[in-house]
């Protein structure tokens, strides 16, 4: 598998300010572009289906993607370091079953304990991923492709073909998803809080900035003393933790959980992250972008529903979204480099 290195372009300096303005402009474009696309979809669909633009529908969209957004936060951390985690769906599903089943096996369990169990499981699974990638020096794509199936298989073993249904779990658990605080569903608040915390982490802590450095130039990161292995491990760990928490919320939201929960989630998450402008080579991208990416895809999905188009388009659209987003990024980078060259000629 080829890993393209980032070429540092050779050129002559002309006016540095015009160049830097151009580059900064382009990096903002992604988030702005997503908002534009979002607006376009909203306009187009609400013209055809007025019920689209209602608060309740918009809330529906956000609820539908809240869990994806939480997982996308974790995936962003991993992708920033130039890695990828394909096992997120299996981790979420496993944690969902573990948490929900806890209530079934031990009625009267405190919700907090269930949350703890789910998060702990996610942490352990994420740690395994991280260890094999860092210490084992196995490419993340291989590791997480393998653990995607291993974790799902383990989930199956634990579930033993059984299913947890709404009657097996206490209302306090289900309320994690449904309770409204100040009129906003708790699920959305969790997602927003997590997004804000990690956005802060990435922007305002040395740790976060070093994650960017590792993805931008792993060699240079090593040379300035960044402990890449530890940090990459931590990214996988955090991703697992977030998946664990997302799994607990999954069980709360969907109530019926078996070993197939969250199958295929990884594709939706990666689509959200890629569409959101997080560079698959690492080094650039924001939580805001990833969340916007999830919202855009969620809006498209909702639009499909309302326009009475086949639900079976969903996976195809995720696939197309990935291809279109990555293609667009390639064109933008290409265009940007040509623009920089011509600016230098002036």
């Amino acid at each position: 598998m080829t890993s393209t290195s980032k070429g540092l372009e050779e050129a002559r300096t002309a006016s540095p300010t015009s160049q830097s303005r151009l580059i900064r402009y382009v990096s903002r474009v992604r988030e702005l572009g997503l908002l534009v696309v979002l607006l376009l979809i909203v306009v187009i669909v609400s013209v055809q289906v007025p019920s689209f633009l209602t608060v309740s529908n918009l809330e529906q969209i956000l609820l539908a993607i809240a869990i994806i957004a939480i997982v996308a936060v974790g995936e962003t951390l991993v992708v920033l370091t130039r890695n990828v985690d394909l096992s997120v769906g299996s981790m979420v599903g496993f944690a969902a079953f573990a948490a929900a089943d806890l209530f079934k096996q031990q009625p009267g369990t405190n919700v907090l304990v269930a949350i703890l169990v789910g998060c702990l499981l996610g942490l352990v699974l994420g740690a395994i991923n991280g260890l094999i990638v860092t210490v084992g020096r196995v490419p993340a794509i291989i590791v997480t492709l393998g653990t995607l199936y291993v974790y799902r298989g383990l989930d199956f073993v634990v579930a033993g073909g059984t299913q947890v249904s709404a009657s097996d779990v206490p209302d306090s658990y289900l309320s994690l998803a449904t309770t409204k605080i100040l009129g906003i569903p708790a699920l959305l608040l969790f997602a927003a809080a997590i997004a804000l915390i990690f956005a802060y982490l990435l922007h305002s802590t040395r740790y976060g900035r070093q994650l960017y450095a590792i993805g931008s130039n792993p060699e240079a990161a090593r040379l300035v003393g960044i402990r890449s292995n530890v940090m990459v491990f931590s990214a996988f760990l955090l991703c697992g933790l977030l998946c664990g928490f997302a799994g607990v919320l999954w069980g709360a939201r969907f109530a019926t959980v078996d070993s197939t929960a969250a199958s295929g989630l990884e594709l939706q998450v990666i689509a959200a992250v890629v569409v959101g402008g997080v560079n698959i080579f690492g080094g650039s991208g924001t939580i805001l972008g990833a969340v916007l990416g999830a919202i855009v895809l969620g809006t498209v999905d909702d639009a499909l529903n309302l326009l009475k188009l086949s639900q079976f388009w969903l996976q195809a659209i995720d696939g197309m979204a990935i291809l279109v987003a990555v293609t667009l990024d390639a064109f933008i980078t290409h265009w940007l480099q040509r623009a920089l060259i011509t600016r230098r000629q002036k």
């Binding site: 980032k6 540092l8 372009e9 050779e10 050129a11 002559r12 300096t13 540095p16 300010t17 160049q19 830097s20 580059i23 900064r24 990096s27 922007h203 305002s204 802590t205 040395r206 900035r209 070093q210 960017y212 450095a213 993805g215 931008s216 130039n217 060699e219 240079a220 990161a221 090593r222 040379l223 300035v224 003393g225 960044i226 560079n279 080094g283 650039s284 040509r338 920089l340 060259i341 011509t342 000629q345």
Partner: protein, 506 residues
């Protein structure tokens, strides 16, 4: 340099082995504050390894390192930086997606009282550092868009921010224009005045005489001599580097120059080079001179079909040709020995034989399908002997060969294609002086046999010594054409720097 000062860095008895290769046997480097110290040696002499030991990248197998009089053991680069040693490598080690300010302070972001990254303070401090260097650089620019010279400035700013007492620069001028080199010299002198010890690893003797106070020469991994620059002449330095007297460095045999084989008219590639026209005759060696970045390699790439030209004509044997790929170029009798032999010239994990036959492997097949291994071996052995490739046999992987022998394998590979036009791009870069002479001999013989040769080289003596005619490029334009008789260093440098007014160079 103050006479009574104590050394800031003393590295003695250093040794480092990589597998079976003893890169450094007895390395020694003593640095005083406020001096520019040149570190010289052929490729493979151990300079890079010594520098990396100083930078904490390699742990030495033996040796004592003292910084400011105290013995230290370096475990990693960060530790070395803490002690005030900053190394600027040949390849810029920056983070392309991050801006200048972050690149300077990566890992050491200033924090406010809440522990958050203090962006404002960081931008201010870096702006201050950039101002000291007198470079028009915006701290907000992602490093990705900067020129190599500017990237070096970022690295120097980084060194300054570390309050480095020792600054090591590894071949810093390789990719700079004359103007940028001058600026670097000014900054180097500034730093010297401020008491920083500067190590300059270079192959360019003119830089050594222009800038360095003292010189350390290494050979075969061992320290040979350290003395003030004033005690050396160029011949002395070369003698210490090579260990033997060098006479005819550039043996040029007489060749009969025939009719025009390659005719290039108004060749242009947008943003890279413009309006390049020249002719190349059989038996002729046409030198392409200029600074790095002048566009010579870019012209070669278009000639060989790697890149596409936007305008202009190429005629071979009076016939107009469109060279759309290397395969097409080869069909017209072109061959190209590229600049970067490790990435472009050779498949490092292939054997000598496999490398030599790669361009013709399809023709070398029985029934057009199965590779004729026996013929392959015959050809490889034949050329290996002709070019005197020193190896453990044609099955040896090329990555185990020395630079000079690797270059010969690349040369052989292209000679096997029976070219009529051979383009050589920096054919003796990173090649030890002995092998250099051999390559020159081979090239000379080829011209005598009737090959038309383009020799792209940044080494003036090489170009002047080998070429029948010299073309000079500057920033994408042809700025000079000289016959062998007319050409000299001044005229070529003149044209290479694109200056209008008269300018004397040493």
């Amino acid at each position: 340099m103050t006479e009574t000062s104590k050394p800031i860095v003393e590295l003695t008895g250093a040794a480092k082995q990589f597998g079976a290769v003893q890169a450094v046997r007895n390395g020694e480097l003593v640095l005083y504050p406020g001096e520019v110290h040149a570190l010289l040696g052929e490729n493979g002499a151990g300079k890079s390894t010594l520098v990396k030991i100083l930078g904490g990248i390699h742990r030495p197998d033996a040796g004592v390192l003292k910084v400011a009089g105290e013995v230290v053991e370096l475990h990693n680069p960060a530790q070395s930086q803490h002690l005030g040693i900053a190394v600027i490598h040949q390849e810029p080690t920056l983070f392309p997606d991050l801006n200048v300010a972050e690149n300077v302070f990566m890992g050491r972001h200033p924090r406010d009282r809440f522990g958050r990254v203090d962006w404002k303070r960081m931008y201010q401090e870096v702006e201050r550092l950039i101002a000291r260097l007198d470079v028009p650089l915006s701290v907000y620019t992602p490093v990705q868009g900067l020129s190599v010279a500017d990237q070096q400035m970022v690295e120097i700013a980084n060194a300054l921010s570390l309050n480095a007492r020792v600054l090591v620069m590894d071949e810093p001028t390789a990719a700079l224009s004359a103007h940028e080199v001058e600026k670097l010299f000014v900054i180097t002198k500034q730093l010297r005045e401020q008491g920083v010890a500067i190590v300059l690893v270079t192959h360019r003797l003119e830089e050594v005489f222009a800038l360095a106070d003292r010189v350390t020469i290494m050979r075969d991994g061992a320290h040979v001599i350290t003395a003030p620059t004033s005690q050396f002449t160029s011949e002395d330095i070369i003698r210490y580097m090579v260990g033997r007297e060098l006479t005819a460095l550039f043996p040029k045999s007489e060749a009969e120059i025939g009719d025009v084989l390659l005719d290039v008219q108004h060749l242009t590639r947008e943003g890279v080079f413009k309006d390049i026209s020249f002719q190349l005759r059989r038996g002729e060696i046409l030198g392409f001179s200029g600074l790095v970045g002048a566009g010579r390699t870019e012209v070669a790439r278009v000639l060989f079909g790697i890149d596409r030209g936007d305008a202009g004509e190429i005629r071979i044997n009076k016939e107009r040709v469109h060279i759309s790929s290397p395969k097409v170029a080869m069909r017209y009798g072109l061959a190209y020995v590229p600049e970067d032999r490790r990435q472009q010239g050779l498949v490092m994990d292939f054997s000598i034989a496999a490398n030599m036959t790669l361009p013709i492997v399809q023709q070398l097949s029985r029934f057009g399908v199965v590779v004729d291994r026996q013929r392959e071996r015959e050809i490889a052995t034949d050329y290996s002997q002709q070019l005197r490739v020193r190896s453990a046999g044609i099955d040896q992987l090329v990555k185990a060969l020395s630079g000079g022998n690797q270059q010969k394998v690349v040369l052989a590979k292209w000679l096997i294609t029976n070219p009529k036009i051979l383009i050589l791009d920096e054919p003796t870069r990173g090649v030890d002086v002995g092998a250099k002479a051999e390559v020159h001999r081979i090239v000379s013989d080829l011209a005598a046999k009737g090959l038309a040769i383009i020799l792209i080289s940044s080494e003036l003596p090489e170009v002047l010594g080998m070429s029948d005619r010299v073309l000079v490029m500057h920033e994408g334009h042809l700025t000079g054409e000289f016959s062998r008789a007319e050409a000299n260093q001044e005229k070529v440098m003149f044209a290479a720097t694109g200056q209008v007014s008269n300018d004397k160079h040493k």
